[in-house]
């Protein structure tokens, strides 16, 4: 496999010169800690006014100094103001566009502002912020572009329905076959991306409804190196999973079709 060393684009230096204002520096430019690369946490949120505040507080406690960008996906409640009052930057989409679109908005923003590392998290408190550090540490290593937090690598407290677990196992197995490495949790929304992977996620390659096993296979085919690390995930009791109900059948159909065409498409490895 081709190895790539990551370089911070030249233009990021330019930006620090132009944007001399303090607020811009803290929100967009400054890295989390001195000597660390520019990092951003992106959290897509839809009607999460109850959970988002606590999630943001815990993140700020566990990993202070990392700017947080909440993408408010056309919520009808006060998600935006709650997130703002907790010190996060908020991008509000004019209407509900879906998880993938909201998430990609964060990647596009990060790519434009030349962030070196992007962490994506869920807004419902399912992901434990104390794993953010592990993700950042892991993604900074050589030969890794994407780190996926897997709930199945370690015996955690995560409980889910049989159907959901079966889906994750099946698509994990399919992804493992095409990637030539073990993928245990392709549905995980707790990931860290670095450099080229951020630009890749911001490109037209990104599956806009919900990125899943198909996107992991796609990244692998484009020469991005994916690695899984164990993370703690809590079940979110008050929220219905996006793979529930009548959407399940569409999800299974979509994933099979998407994986099939992903494998058929010709790839230009740059």
């Amino acid at each position: 496999m081709k190895t790539l060393s990551y370089q911070v684009p030249q233009s990021s230096l330019k930006q620090t010169v132009i944007l001399e204002n303090d607020e811009f520096k803290t929100t967009f430019i400054k890295g989390p800690l001195k000597g660390h690369p520019k990092t951003l946490i992106i959290i897509p949120a839809y009607n999460e006014e109850k959970n988002i505040g606590a999630v943001l507080e815990t993140i700020q406690k566990k990993v202070p100094g990392i700017p947080i960008l909440v993408i408010n996906d056309g919520s009808s409640d006060n998600t935006e103001s709650v997130a703002r009052s907790h010190g996060a930057n908020v991008i509000s989409l004019p209407y509900n566009s879906g998880y993938g679109v909201a998430l990609q908005t964060g990647f596009i923003f990060a790519a434009r502002k030349n962030y070196a590392i992007v962490i994506q998290m869920d807004s419902d408190g399912q992901h434990d912020p104390k794993n953010v550090k592990d993700l950042i540490e892991e993604v900074q290593k050589d030969k890794v572009d994407v780190v996926i937090g897997s709930r199945f690598l370690e015996s955690g407290s995560y409980k889910s329905s049989f159907a959901r677990r079966a889906g994750i196992i099946i698509f994990g197995k399919i992804a493992s076959i095409f990637c030539g490495q073990k993928v245990t949790d392709p549905t995980s929304g707790f990931q860290a991306l670095k450099g080229r992977a951020i630009h890749f996620a911001a490109s037209d390659h990104y599956p806009p409804d919900y990125p899943d096993a198909d996107f992991i296979i796609l990244m692998h085919r484009h020469g991005l190196r994916v690695k899984e690390i164990p993370v703690i995930m809590h079940a979110s009791p008050d929220k219905e999973s996006m793979h529930h109900g009548h959407k399940t059948i569409y999800y299974i159909f979509k994933m099979f079709l998407s994986i099939f065409v992903t494998v058929l498409r010709s790839v230009s490895k740059r």
């Binding site: 811009f24 908020v90 566009s97 679109v101 908005t105």
Partner: protein, 132 residues
């Protein structure tokens, strides 16, 4: 072909073509989307008017009834038009998605710049402000 169905078919086709022209004239339908309908209308009209053509086409596709040839091609054209629409809708969805994302990002940047301008440290820097 029974003359009754032939007359009905001709009338429907003439109405369709005329109506599509009228819609384009009033700019209710763009030229791009009128293409499919005009091709469908005129071909169906040609098949309905000319019995020789209908006979030839029926033999070509192996239809025993002339009317089923008409239905067959009517359905075929509709399928093509529907597929064309699905493709266009996919493209439009994509464009709307990109617009949505851009608007969201621009809005955040706008708000950040506004709060920058409101800050007193900037207001004291009069040389910059006067240029704005």
């Amino acid at each position: 072909m029974p003359p009754k169905i032939q007359i009905i078919s001709i009338l429907i086709c003439i109405f369709l073509v005329a109506y599509v022209f009228e819609l384009v004239r009033r700019k209710h339908l763009s030229e791009e989307y009128s293409m499919g309908w005009l091709v469908t209308g005129t071909s169906m009209l040609a098949l309905s008017v000319s019995e020789g053509l209908l006979k030839w086409v029926s033999e070509l596709v192996g239809a025993t009834l002339f009317t089923s040839t008409l239905f067959f091609f009517g359905l075929l054209f509709l399928m093509v038009i529907c597929l064309h629409f699905s493709i266009r809708i996919s493209a439009l969805t994509n464009q709307v998605r990109k617009l949505t994302q851009s608007i969201g990002i621009l809005d955040l940047e706008k708000k950040t710049l506004e709060s920058q301008i409101r800050q007193p440290t900037w207001q004291s820097d009069s040389s910059n402000m006067e240029q704005l």
